[in-house]
């Protein structure tokens, strides 16, 4: 896989089918359904005061949900470039417009937080970047967290000049 800046877009090229599939899974990975810990992490408490939390839940949380959903929809649209390659073993290319960088950062962050909460990764696991080959769904989850983090780092480097 190669990743570089091309004018007003980020280009991820030579994307093998496995990594392309992980990218396709970004939007659905943001879904916290069935995992209360993930839901609680995406919508964390703003205060120890009950009154503030109650107001927050009524007025702020719906707006946050809209914000997160909007970002995820932008990423989903960009990922349609990978459609048609599902059955192919050939490598493919993904262009991410720089204007979509914030949406990607947000969505990748949602996905990383949800996956980490679902599997309850420890600090040690999250900092172990030399982990052995993937042998379980949990290992794959950790690989996703690290891969999405790598993409975030690249996007951050490009948008911060």
């Amino acid at each position: 896989m190669e990743i570089c800046r091309q004018d007003d877009a980020l280009q991820i090229s030579d994307l093998d089918p496995f990594l392309a599939e992980l990218l396709r899974q970004v939007p659905e990975s943001t879904n916290p359904d069935g995992a209360p810990a993930a839901e609680a992490r995406l919508f964390s408490r703003p205060s120890a005061e009950k009154k503030i939390c109650a107001e927050w839940k009524s007025y702020v949380e719906p707006e946050l949900r809209r914000l997160f959903r909007s970002a995820t929809e932008t990423v989903t649209d960009d990922l349609t470039q990978l459609n048609g390659n599902e059955k192919s073993l050939s490598n493919c290319i993904l262009h991410i417009p720089i204007a979509h960088a914030d949406a990607w950062l947000n969505t990748l962050n949602q996905a990383r937080l949800v996956i980490a909460a679902k599997y309850k990764f420890s600090d040690e696991e999250l900092n172990d970047h030399d982990r052995s080959p993937i042998g379980s769904r949990r290992d794959l989850g950790l690989f996703q967290v690290n891969f999405y983090g790598f993409l975030q780092e690249f996007i951050l480097r490009e948008i911060s000049g």
Partner: protein
């Protein structure tokens, strides 16, 4: 101060449109509707605290501090390191409304942030 409002909980517009060209992931300034708190409550100083999170990248947290608070990179990095090493950092303190707005923006970026009364 980047944005102020009289009551964040009465806001009626928070980035309702799609997050793409020309937009950012920050939450738009709420529109003032009505005052709901007494002066005494508003006068109590509040602080915006960011808590450590092993998932959020250090570079990402630094960028968020720069964007939300307008801090220069060095100051943003100092706060990021304080969060990382001490578990929390006080990013801002003052009256309640802007503090609430800052916390809301930080939650929009998925940071663990809380609003606390200064003791």
């Amino acid at each position: 101060m980047k944005a102020q409002c009289d009551n964040i909980f009465s806001m009626s517009a928070v980035n309702a449109g799609p997050l793409e060209k020309g937009s950012t992931s920050t939450v738009e300034a709420p529109i003032k509707e009505k005052e709901t708190r007494g002066e005494e409550e508003l006068d109590v100083p509040w602080q915006v605290v960011v808590h450590n999170d092993p998932v959020n990248l250090m570079t990402y947290v630094t960028m968020v501090f720069q964007r939300v608070f307008g801090y220069p990179r060095e100051k943003a990095e100092r706060h990021m390191l304080e969060v990382h090493q001490k578990g929390r950092s006080i990013l801002w303190s003052g009256v309640r409304e802007p503090a609430e707005f800052y916390v809301q923006q930080l939650h929009g970026y998925l940071l663990l942030a809380t609003l606390e009364k200064v003791v």
